[in-house]
Symmetry: C2
C-alpha cells in the first residue's frame, strides 16, 4: 500500500498545479489516479500566494480545490495566511478592506465545498472583542458549503522578519476546537509557531504554553496538521526537521506539515511540505522551491523528494566560521533565483539591466538574473571609465557572450568630464564660504559609480517593465563600501545578503552545476576584488578592496560572529580567526595590534554605514541572520555604541572625574 | 506655598540642565533656591538621550543627579529607557553588550547616590528566566549607594512606531514592588504604556489589565509617577491630557508624568512633563521641545508653561479634513526643527546642502534648515536647466538672501547634454535587441533631477560634515511624484510627512512668526507647484503638478482619509470632499466619474510608489499617521490590493465562471 502512495505522488507531482496543462489532460490524470488513492489521502497545497492579492490567491486556491474535489480526497490543506498572503507588513492595519475581502472570499470558497473534501485554509479574522489587537491569524475548515470551524493562532512570533504581534491577538489554546475529522481520522490543527515551543526540545522557550502538548493530551488526535508559512534561512532546515520529528515521536502522533513556497519581497519559503510518522520518521516530503499539489497519506506517508543541499546540511555544519560554503550553495542559489523571479513577477517587471564591470558582484548577479528571468530578458552594460582595465572590459564581454544575455558597451568618460567640470565650478563657490574642504575624498570615485547608475535608471525609464539591479554584496554593505545612488542603487539587490567569500564559492559552484558549464570566465574569479574607481598611489594600480578595507576572509568572519554569536570586540580578540590560522601556517602570524585595528575599523565603518542600510533596495534574505531591514533595524543615530566593553571600575572612575 | 513653587521653577527653568553655565553660576542658583524648596520637591529630568550612546547618556544623567543632590530634593526622575536611549530598533538583539553596558552604568550611578535624593531611571534589564523574551523594559530606583528596586513594564506597545514586544517580556503587575517612598510620600511607579489602558476612558483596550488601577487599589499610593518616552503626533496631546487628568481624578491620586524630549531619527518627543492633582487638574507642566530640569511638588504642583499651538488644540479640531492647518503649524515647525537639529548632532553632521528650485518644497526646507542649523551652515544651490524659468531662478536667489544662507547658481545644461548623448548611444543598442521602448517617458525629466542630486552628493563628498537634503513632500511621495536618485535622495528628508496644502500654510505661518518676517518671497507661495522638468504640450508651459496628478486639495484629503479613517474607494465615493464643496460654490460641481477617476489614480499611483517608500531617507514623523518606514511598512510586492471592494455575489460569480 505504501508503494501505491509513492507511485501516485510521483506521477502527478505538481502537474495538477501546473497551469500549462489543459482541463482535458488534468481530467485524464484524475481518472487514472482516483481509483489508486488510499482512503485517507489528503492534498498538501504547497502554493505561492502574492501578499495583498486576495482575489488572485482565492481564484488560484479554487482551481486547486476543484481538482482535489474531483480526486475525492478527504481534504486539501493550504498554508497559514494563504488568502491574504504572507508577509503583510502593516497593510491590514491601514486597509481593513483587505481583511473584509479575505473574509468574503473565504465565505465564497466555503459555498463551493462539498461534503467529501474538506478545505483547510489560512486567513485573517477580525477580533470583534472590545479587548486586544484588531485581528486573529486563523485557519478555517470549510466543508459542505459552510465554515465548519475557525482555529486561531496562539503563539505569535515577533522577532527578526516576523511581526505577528503587531496585528494579531494571541488566542488561548482551545484544544477541542482544534479538532476536526478528516476522513476517518481525528486531526488536531496547529498554526505554524504553535508547533515551535516544545519544552523538552528547546533549551529556552519564548512562550509559556505548548499548544501541541495541550491538543495531544486533551484530545488524542490521530494526527496533527501544521499549517505554516515558514521561511528558509541558513541552518534552519535541520532544526525544523529535528523538531518536527522529535514532537511526533514524543507524542506518538504523526505530524503533517504544509508550507508555503515562493518569495514575497525579502522573505523566501522553500516549501518542502512533509509527513512524520508516530515514530518521528520522515515518511513524505514535497519538492522544494516549486509549487506542488502533493498527495499524502497522513498515516502511511507518501513520496520523499530529496532536499537541495543546504536545506539538508547546514545546521550542524556551521558551528564555526568556514570558507567551505559548499553545503549551503545550492539552497543559496535556489533562494535567490526564486526571489528574483517572484519579485519581478509580483511587481509586474520582466527585464533587468545591470552594469557589467568584469568584477565578481556584477558577474554573479548577471548569472542569477539570466537563470531567473531568461537570458533574453537581461541587458548587461559595460561602462568603462579611464581607470577601467582592458581585462575588465573583455571579461564583461566574454561573460555576456557565455550567458547569452544582451550586451553593450558605453564609455562614461564624457559624463565624468562634464560632471567634474560643473563640480569644480560649484566647489569653488562653496570653498569661498566654507572652510571645510577635504584634502582627500571619494568625489571622483563616486562620480563614476553614479554616472553608471544614471545610465541604468535611464534605461529603466525608457524601456518597458525593466528594472535596474543593485549589485552590492553583504561584506561591502557592512563596510559602507558601496556608493549611494551608485552601485547600491537599483530596483532589487540580489546579493545583499551574500558575503564576498561565499560569492566566490557560489561563482565556482555555478560554473560547475549550471547546464552551461564555466560561463563565468576564470579570470573574473581569480582576480582580487576592487571597484576600479581610484588608483592606489602606493601601487600605481587600481585600489583593491582588501587594501581599502581588510582581508575578506577576516571581514566575513567578523560578520559571521556578529550575526550568529552576537560577539563584540572583546570576545573576538579572545577567539582565533580562520584568517589567523592561515597566517600562522604561512609563517606570518597576525599581530594583536593589527587584529584590534581591523576590529575597530569594522565597527567604526559599520556605524557610519547604517544610513546606507536604510535606503537599500529590496533584497532576498539568505543567511541565518542579515541586515535586511525586513529583519534587522538599527537606527542611524545609534552610531555611538561602544563595541569595546569598559570595566565597571573604568565607569566609576569616569563618574569620579 | 504654591506661589513659591511656581517662582522656583520659573527661575531655574532649564538653567541647571544648560551646559553653558559655569559650576560657579549653578552653585549660586542652588544656594539661592535650596531654602525655598517645598519639602516634597522632586526633579523631573526632561532630558534628550541618544540611542545606543549609553556612556554619554549616563554621564549626562550624572551631571543632573549631582545638582539634584545639591538641592537635596527627594528624587530626580528620568524617562523610560533613558540609559540606552529610545527607540532602539533591534540593536539590543544583536549586541547584548549594549545591555551589559547599561547595567554596569546603572550600577555605577547607584554607587553615587546618597540617602536623601532617590534616582529613578529607565534602563534595559536581562530576563534571566528560561522562558520568554530576552529583556525587560525596566525602571530602577537608586538610593544610598544601591539599587533599591526594579519595576518592569507590563504593557508593551507594538504598533506603529512602537516595537516593545519584539524584545521585551511583559511582566505581571506586581503592585507592591511598584511602591517606593519619596520623601514622606508613597509613590506608585508606572512605565509609560502601563498608564494607557483605563477601561473607563477607552472604548477599546489593547490589554486586559490596567496597572494603574491595580496599583491604586492594592497599595493606595500618595501619588503615581509615570516614566515615559511618549512621542508627539498630531492629535495626540489632547488625548494624553484628557487621559492623565481622567485617571488622576478617577483614582483621586495625583499623577506625575516625566517625558523624554528630543528627536531620535524619525520619532520626536516633545517633553511637556507634568503633574495632575487628585482632582485631575493640571498643576505643573514643563516647557516643550527643550531639556528641562523641572522642579515640582507632587502634591502642590509647580509652574505651568504654555504648550505650543498644536500640542494644545489638534485633537478635537480635526475630525474632518480641513485646509486650516493653523492649529498644528507651531508643533509641526518645532518638531521638524528639533528633528533636523538632533539628527545632525547625533550623527555628527553640521552642514546641509540643498537644491533651491524656487519651488515650495525646497523653499520650506531651506527655512527649516536655516532655523535648525544656523543660516551659515546651509548652502542653497540653484541648478537651472533649459526649462527653468527666470522667475524661479530669481525667487531662489531672493530667498537665500532673505534667509542669509550661502548660495550659488550653476547650470546643469552641460551635464544634461553629455548624459543625453550617452543615453542615445545606449538606447539605440538596446532598441536593437528589445522591442519595448516607450513612446513617451520621463527619461529627460529624470536626467535633470538626477544631475542635481549628483551635484549635491558631490558636495557632501567634498566638504566635511555636510549632508544633502531630500525635499520630497508627503503628497508627492504618495503619488510617486519624486525621482529616485533625484529629489527624493538625500541624507535627511525634513518634509516627507508634510502634505502640500499644509506646506503652503506652513510657509505663510513662518513668514508671519519667524523673527525675520516674510523671508519667503510671496511669489513662491503664490505660484502653482510644478517640477519644471517637462513642458506641458497643451499649454506650452512647464507642466504643473496638479495637471500631472490631481488637485492637491483633493489629493491631501484622500491621504487624510486613508491614514486617519482607513477609508478606501467605496467609502470615499460616499463622502463629500472639501474640494467638492468648493467646486459647488464655484458653480462647477465635480462629476462622479471624475472623482472615481482620481480615486483610482490615487491607489494605482500609490501601489507603484511603494518601492520609493522603502528607499526614502530618514525623515521626521509629524502627522497623526505617516508612511515613514519606522511606522508603516507595506511590502512592494503587495501592489495588487483591490482598493475598490467587490460584493459577495460578484465573488461567487467569479468562482462560477
Amino acid at each position: 500500500m505504501k508503494e501505491t502512495v509513492y507511485t501516485l505522488t510521483d506521477k502527478i507531482d505538481n502537474d495538477l498545479a501546473c497551469t500549462c496543462l489543459s482541463e482535458q489532460e488534468r481530467a485524464e490524470i484524475v481518472s487514472e489516479l482516483k481509483p489508486l488513492l488510499s482512503k485517507d489521502a489528503i492534498v498538501l497545497a504547497q502554493i505561492n500566494p502574492t501578499s495583498g492579492d486576495v482575489r488572485g490567491n482565492a481564484l488560484k486556491a479554487f482551481e486547486w480545490i476543484k481538482w482535489a474535489q474531483k480526486l475525492e480526497v478527504n481534504a486539501i490543506v493550504f498554508p497559514e495566511m494563504y488568502l491574504i498572503g504572507y508577509p503583510i507588513g502593516d497593510f491590514i492595519d491601514r486597509f481593513p478592506l483587505v481583511v473584509e475581502e479575505n473574509i468574503e472570499w473565504l465565505e465564497a470558497l466555503a459555498k463551493k465545498t462539498d461534503d467529501k473534501t474538506k478545505v483547510i485554509i489560512g486567513f485573517v479574522e477580525f477580533n470583534k472583542s472590545k479587548k486586544g489587537k484588531k485581528y486573529y491569524n486563523s485557519i478555517a475548515v470549510l466543508t459542505g458549503g459552510k465554515i465548519e470551524r475557525v482555529i486561531r493562532k496562539s503563539l505569535l512570533p515577533n522577532y527578526a522578519e516576523f511581526n505577528d504581534y503587531r496585528h494579531f491577538e494571541p488566542a488561548p489554546v482551545d484544544s477541542l476546537n482544534r479538532i476536526t475529522n478528516i476522513g476517518d481520522d481525528k486531526a488536531g490543527i496547529i498554526v505554524c509557531e504553535d508547533g515551535w515551543n516544545d519544552f523538552d526540545f528547546f533549551d529556552k522557550n519564548l512562550y509559556s504554553v505548548d499548544p501541541v502538548e495541550v491538543v495531544v493530551n486533551e484530545q488524542h488526535p490521530d494526527f496533527l496538521l501544521n499549517c505554516s508559512s515558514s521561511i528558509t534561512r541558513a541552518k534552519k532546515e535541520q532544526l525544523k526537521h529535528n523538531m518536527l520529528g522529535f514532537a511526533a515521536k514524543k507524542h506518538a502522533t504523526p505530524i503533517v506539515y504544509v508550507n508555503q513556497v515562493g518569495s514575497n519581497e525579502c522573505v523566501s519559503f522553500e516549501g518542502a511540505s512533509r509527513v512524520y510518522d508516530k515514530d518521528g520518521k520522515l515518511v513524505a516530503m514535497a519538492k522544494s522551491y516549486s509549487e506542488q499539489f502533493f498527495i499524502v497519506s497522513p498515516t502511511m506517508g507518501g513520496k520523499i523528494y530529496p532536499l537541495p543541499n543546504g536545506l539538508e546540511k547546514t545546521l550542524n555544519s556551521q558551528k564555526a566560521f568556514t570558507l567551505d560554503h559548499e553545503p549551503d550553495l545550492e539552497r543559496t542559489y535556489l533562494t535567490i533565483i526564486q526571489s528574483i523571479r517572484d519579485y519581478f513577477k509580483k511587481t509586474g517587471f520582466k527585464r533587468a539591466v545591470l552594469g557589467l564591470s568584469g568584477g565578481l558582484d556584477s558577474t554573479v548577479s548577471a548569472v542569477l538574473l539570466a537563470d531567473a528571468l531568461g537570458a533574453e530578458n537581461v541587458f548587461g552594460i559595460s561602462m568603462p571609465s579611464k581607470i577601467t582595465s582592458v581585462e575588465s572590459k573583455n571579461d564583461a564581454r566574454e561573460l555576456a557572450e557565455n550567458l547569452g544575455i544582451n550586451f553593450t558597451e558605453v564609455s562614461i568618460k564624457d559624463m565624468f568630464d562634464s560632471t567634474r567640470s560643473k563640480f569644480d565650478e560649484v566647489f569653488d563657490s562653496i570653498d569661498a564660504q566654507w572652510d571645510c574642504r577635504y584634502k582627500e575624498c571619494f568625489t571622483n570615485d563616486n562620480i563614476q559609480a553614479r554616472s553608471r547608475a544614471l545610465i541604468l535608471w535611464g534605461v529603466a525609464n525608457e524601456f518597458q517593465s525593466c528594472l535596474p539591479i543593485a549589485t552590492s554584496d553583504k561584506s561591502e554593505l557592512y563596510m559602507g563600501y558601496a556608493t549611494i545612488n551608485g552601485d547600491m542603487s537599483g530596483g532589487f539587490a540580489p546579493l545583499a545578503d551574500v558575503s564576498k567569500t561565499k560569492l566566490f564559492a557560489l561563482a565556482r559552484w555555478m560554473n560547475k552545476n549550471r547546464a552551461i558549464k564555466n560561463a563565468i570566465p576564470e579570470a573574473i574569479i581569480a582576480k582580487r576584488p576592487g571597484a576600479e574607481l581610484a588608483i592606489n598611489p602606493k601601487t600605481g594600480k587600481p585600489l583593491l578592496a582588501e587594501e581599502a578595507l581588510m582581508p575578506y576572509e577576516f571581514l566575513d568572519e567578523v560578520i559571521w560572529r556578529v550575526e550568529n554569536l552576537q560577539q563584540t570586540i572583546g570576545d573576538m580578540m579572545q577567539a582565533e580567526f580562520l584568517h589567523e590560522k592561515h597566517l600562522v601556517q604561512e609563517g606570518t602570524p597576525l599581530s594583536k595590534e593589527q587584529k584590534m585595528e581591523w576590529l575597530k575599523k569594522f565597527f567604526r565603518r559599520m556605524s557610519t554605514s547604517l544610513y546606507k542600510w536604510t535606503i537599500m533596495p529590496p533584497s532576498p534574505i539568505v543567511d541565518a541572520r542579515s541586515i535586511n531591514k525586513a529583519e534587522y533595524r538599527h537606527p542611524v543615530i545609534a552610531s555611538k555604541i561602544n563595541y569595546n566593553k569598559t570595566t565597571f571600575e573604568e565607569k566609576l572612575q569616569e563618574l569620579s572625574k
